[in-house]
Every structure is written in structure tokens, then in C-alpha cells.
């Protein structure tokens, strides 16, 4: 009887297991294996050569630098903005509307967002009228227009700004939900004890939001490591803006080098494993 029940239970999860096995688990293992090979048919064993290439070639070192820049700047700014907006909007009556406005970019594709931001960053030589918002604002303030997309000293920041525009709504909504979970009594007690609003923020609200902020930051870090669409559509990784996911795509389809592409993917996985462990640990605790 019990055996029959157990068999029945396995039948319920079978479709999910087959799909996960064929399209996720096996491919991940296979990708790790393939990262030690090269050649069109992936038959030449090259040991760690693909990895050595990644850490020694100037172009791929730029890729690592850019992902690090994304990780730090994108995550920190998005969390900070989300937190700020959550605390501010919590005090006004049109909170729902404000949150919806910030959140809308989350609903559209990164591809559309990339078009939107390429349009924001249009550059025309100084003698012409600027048709992009950013350069129009810059010239109105008396500065020269800047080629945001092609100038390597600013373009990574320009791309990251587009990412922040997309993801702040996510941070805001999650942090705001956490904020609602803090009881009014706790805040009132702090006020009765003579704490001012800024003290309450740093010593009461922030510590109580800690786990929510960790969840948001982990999600954003994962997405900063995986960032693809925005870079692919805005620059295709040209002008020193390349990132891991786009580099992998290039290695696959531009250079036809599946071994090196696999190595890029494995590096991505290694970077994400700590986040994965943090999620599993948190889940077990809950």
C-alpha cells in the first residue's frame, strides 16, 4: 500500500523532474565538462586553457571589470533608492500611485527599455539641436553634449542607469512591504522615548528591515551578474561595455567558440553560487 502511494507521488512530480533534468541539471553538468574542450566539434581537450584565456586577455578582463561595476553600482544605488522611496512614500496619501509609477518599467521588456534609453542618450554634434533628453538637459545647463553610448569613460554608467530605472520599482515594492510589517507601536514607543525621525530610521527601521534588504540585494546582485538584454541591445558589448552574459553569446555565435563560451558560463555560475547558498540557508531557516 505504502509503496503504491509512494509510486503515485513520484508520478505527480515526474513531468517536472524530466524537464528539470533534461533542460537544467544535465546541461549545467555538461557545460562544466565542455568548458575544458575546444574546436568546432568540441573534441579537443584543452584543460584549463579556456579559463586561462579569460583571466589573461585584456578584452575579457574588461568584462570582469564591467560586471563588478554593475554589481556594486547597480545594486547599491537600486537598494538605496528603493529604501528612500519606500520611507518617503510611506508618509503620503498618494503612495499607491507613486509606487505604481516607479514600478511600471518592471513590466516591460529589457529590450524595450534598451530602445527607450538609447533614445534618451541620443548624441548629435554640438552645432545641431539635441533630440535626446539627457543631452538636451546637458546643453541647456551649458555643457557640451556627450556621446553616452560610445564614450568608454561614461557608457557603463549610462547603461547601469537604465538598469536602475528598471529595477528600483522592484526594490521599492519589496522594501515597502517590509516597512508595513513594522508595527506602529514600536515606532510610537521610540517617539515617546524621545527619538527623532532620523534616529528612528537608523536605529529602529533599518535594523528591522535587515532581512528584507538582504533579499532585495541578493536578487539584484544575481541580476547584475546575469545582465544581458540591456547590454546586447544598447551596445552589443562594444565600446568596452561587454559583460559576462553578452560575452558568452558572442563567443557562441560570433566566434563559434563553444568551449570558451562554456567557460564564461561556468564563471557566471561560480559568481552566483554564494547567492544560491544564501537563499537555501534562508529557506531552511524559515
Amino acid at each position: 500500500m505504502r509503496t503504491r502511494l509512494v509510486t503515485a507521488a513520484w508520478l505527480w512530480v515526474l513531468p517536472a523532474f524530466v524537464l528539470l533534468g533534461v533542460f537544467l541539471v544535465y546541461p549545467v553538468v555538461n557545460t562544466v565538462y565542455l568548458s575544458f574542450f575546444s574546436g568546432r566539434d568540441m573534441s579537443t581537450f584543452v584543460g584549463l586553457d579556456n579559463y586561462v584565456y579569460l583571466v589573461t586577455h585584456p578584452e575579457t578582463i574588461t568584462v570582469f571589470r564591467n560586471n563588478l561595476l554593475w554589481l556594486v553600482l547597480f545594486t547599491a544605488t537600486t537598494v538605496a533608492l528603493g529604501l528612500l522611496l519606500a520611507v518617503l512614500s510611506n508618509q503620503v496619501r498618494y503612495e499607491a500611485l507613486a509606487k505604481a509609477i516607479i514600478f511600471i518599467p518592471m513590466a516591460v521588456s529589457f529590450t524595450a527599455a534598451a530602445v527607450i534609453w538609447r533614445f534618451m542618450y541620443i548624441f548629435r554634434p554640438p552645432q545641431f539641436e539635441q533630440t535626446g533628453v539627457v543631452n538636451a538637459a546637458f546643453t541647456a545647463l551649458g555643457f557640451d553634449p556627450i556621446p553616452w553610448i560610445t564614450n568608454p569613460s561614461v557608457n557603463n554608467y549610462a547603461l547601469i542607469a537604465a538598469g536602475i530605472w528598471m529595477w528600483t520599482g522592484f526594490a521599492l515594492v519589496v522594501i515597502s512591504a517590509g516597512l508595513k510589517g513594522i508595527s506602529a507601536e514600536v515606532l510610537e514607543a521610540a517617539r515617546v522615548d524621545g527619538a527623532n525621525e532620523i534616529q528612528i530610521f537608523w536605529h529602529v527601521i533599518l535594523p528591522m528591515l535587515r532581512s528584507v534588504l538582504v533579499v532585495v540585494a541578493v536578487t539584484l546582485i544575481i541580476n547584475s551578474l546575469k545582465v544581458f538584454d540591456l547590454v546586447y541591445v544598447m551596445t552589443f558589448g562594444n565600446f568596452a561595455t561587454d559583460v559576462l552574459a553578452n560575452r558568452m553569446f558572442k563567443e557562441m555565435f560570433t566566434f563559434g567558440n563553444f568551449g570558451r563560451a562554456s567557460a564564461v558560463a561556468v564563471v557566471l555560475l561560480l559568481a552566483i553560487v554564494p547567492m544560491m547558498l544564501s537563499n537555501v540557508r534562508r529557506f531552511r531557516r524559515e
Partner: protein
């Protein structure tokens, strides 16, 4: 006396409003800033080609300028956005249904059936949540190529379903396990089998979370670029809108009358879904805060 109290509180209210001025200014300014990029795209998509190329979209209101639907007409027909719109639907709808169905059965088993090692397997699923799909692209592409499936809809249906499962199973299992235990147990005691409990009790009670998952997954697939790019190849007849738009960007990078209208067509459905079903959408986001 009473009058005085009211007058005082009026003054207090005024003081309070003034002192809160900066707060309102800050929130409203940020909100306006957030709306500028999409507004520019929307306005521009209705401006004639020459006007977009030479003047900023914000001038469209101050000068006597004309608006047109020609951009939309051109991208929908000549650039194939109408076909791509259909392709996006053909890709996203079946794959979403499949994900929700497969996940619901598995999630039920994890929550309410006697599955040896179920706890550990479920932790593996939680771990799989954040595995980047980049790790699967090459082996799966080779698999599809040898099966002759590259460039076909079934290939993306299968891949999307598998990629969506960890999140879907995670979300639904957490919801199912929180259902009232007494209710299910009394049904079992009355002799109801798992099938009956699943369809008669669990499914009807789970409509909100099923809806949240459906909306979240559908928009995710509707907005996907990478999977379509890799498994559908460059075949224009099966390309969803995201792929068509990225092709437009690389071949007509400064033809803004085409790019703005094409991008807006791809945004229409997500915007409608967002405004109509915001509650479910936000629920999905909150539940999926761990998804990468």
C-alpha cells in the same frame, strides 16, 4: 472656545503642510523623472520621421506639429511586427500554461504527499531558482540541433517551461502547504483520493496564487530575448517582438520613427496587464523576491 481650537488646528495643519513640502516635492520630482523616458518614447512614436530626427519630442506640444500613425503602419507590416506580435503570443501562452500545470502537480506532491527525500529535493529546486540559464544554452542548443528542433516553437515551449519550473514549483508549494490542514485531512478521511482533493479543494482555493504565477510567468516569457535569440536562431517567421526589435536596432539604429513605435507595440500588453491586474503582478514579484 471651540472656534479657537479649530483655528489653532487649522494653523497647525498649515504649518504641517508647509514643513512637509520638501517631502512632496521630492516624491513628485522622482516620479516625474521616472516617467520621462517612457513618455518620450510614446510621444515620439506618433511623430513624423523628419520631426523625430531633427527636434526633441518635448517640442511637439509647443510648436504646431502633426502626429501620425504612419510609423505604426510601417513597423506592423513592412517590418513584420504584426507577425512578431502573434509569435510572442504563440510562444508565451502555451509555455505559461504548461509551466503552471506541471508545477501545480509537482508542488502538490511536495506539499501533501509522502515523497521520500522530498525535503532535500525541494532544497535542490530552491537552489536551481538562481542557476543562470546561460549554463544550459550550449548543451540544450546542441540537443535541439540534433533533434531538428531549432527554430521551432516546441523547442522554446519546452525550454521556457523547464526554466520557469523552479520558481513556479517554489511559489505554489509554499502556497499549498499553507492551506488549512484540517480541511484536506477531513477530505482524505472521507475517502477522497489525491486527484479529487487536488482538483476539488486545492485548485479552487489557489486561484489567486495561480493567477499571480500565470501573470508573472506570461510577462516574463513575453519579455524574453535570450531564449528566443538562441533557440529560434535568426528565423524571421518565428521571431517574437523582442528579437525583431533588437534586429531593428542593429539594422536601423537611428530610424527612431520605427524603433519607438515597435518598442511601444511590445509594451502595450504588459502595460494593460499591469494596470488591470497590478495586485496579482505585485504578489508574484513579492513571492518571487528570491528568483534571479
Amino acid at each position: 472656545m471651540a472656534k479657537q481650537v479649530i483655528a489653532l488646528s487649522k494653523r497647525e495643519r498649515l504649518l504641517r503642510a508647509v514643513s512637509r513640502g520638501p517631502l512632496h516635492v521630492a516624491i513628485i520630482a522622482i516620479c516625474l523623472m521616472w516617467m520621462v523616458p517612457s513618455t518620450g518614447l510614446f510621444v515620439s512614436s506618433f511623430r513624423p520621421k523628419d520631426a523625430i530626427a531633427t527636434t526633441g519630442w518635448w517640442t511637439a506640444f509647443s510648436t504646431a506639429s502633426e502626429f501620425t500613425l504612419a510609423n505604426y503602419q510601417q513597423v506592423l507590416t513592412a517590418q513584420g511586427m504584426a507577425q512578431s506580435f502573434m509569435n510572442s503570443l504563440i510562444i508565451a501562452l502555451p509555455a505559461t500554461l504548461l509551466t503552471v500545470a506541471v508545477a501545480a502537480f509537482a508542488a502538490y506532491a511536495f506539499a501533501w504527499m509522502d515523497l521520500p527525500g522530498g525535503e532535500i529535493i525541494f532544497l535542490v529546486v530552491v537552489g536551481l531558482l538562481v542557476v543562470p540559464i546561460q549554463l544550459t544554452l550550449i548543451p540544450v542548443l546542441r540537443m535541439f540541433a540534433s533533434a531538428g528542433l531549432t527554430g521551432t516553437f516546441p523547442a522554446v515551449w519546452l525550454a521556457h517551461t523547464a526554466y520557469g519550473l523552479p520558481f513556479a514549483v517554489f511559489l505554489l508549494r509554499n502556497f499549498f502547504i499553507a492551506l488549512p490542514k484540517d480541511l484536506l485531512e477531513s477530505a482524505f478521511l472521507e475517502g477522497a483520493g489525491h486527484m479529487r482533493v487536488f482538483f476539488r479543494i486545492v485548485m479552487p482555493l489557489s486561484v489567486p496564487s495561480l493567477a499571480a504565477l500565470f501573470i508573472f510567468q506570461f510577462l516574463w516569457l513575453w519579455n524574453d530575448l535570450l531564449v528566443a535569440l538562441v533557440y529560434l536562431g535568426g528565423f524571421r517567421n518565428v521571431a517574437p517582438m523582442t528579437v525583431t526589435i533588437s534586429n531593428l536596432v542593429s539594422s536601423f539604429g537611428s530610424e527612431w520613427h520605427l524603433l519607438t513605435s515597435a518598442a511601444f507595440i511590445s509594451m502595450m500588453l504588459p502595460l494593460v496587464v499591469f494596470f488591470a491586474l497590478q495586485r496579482y503582478f505585485v504578489q508574484g514579484i513579492l513571492a518571487g523576491a528570491v528568483k534571479g
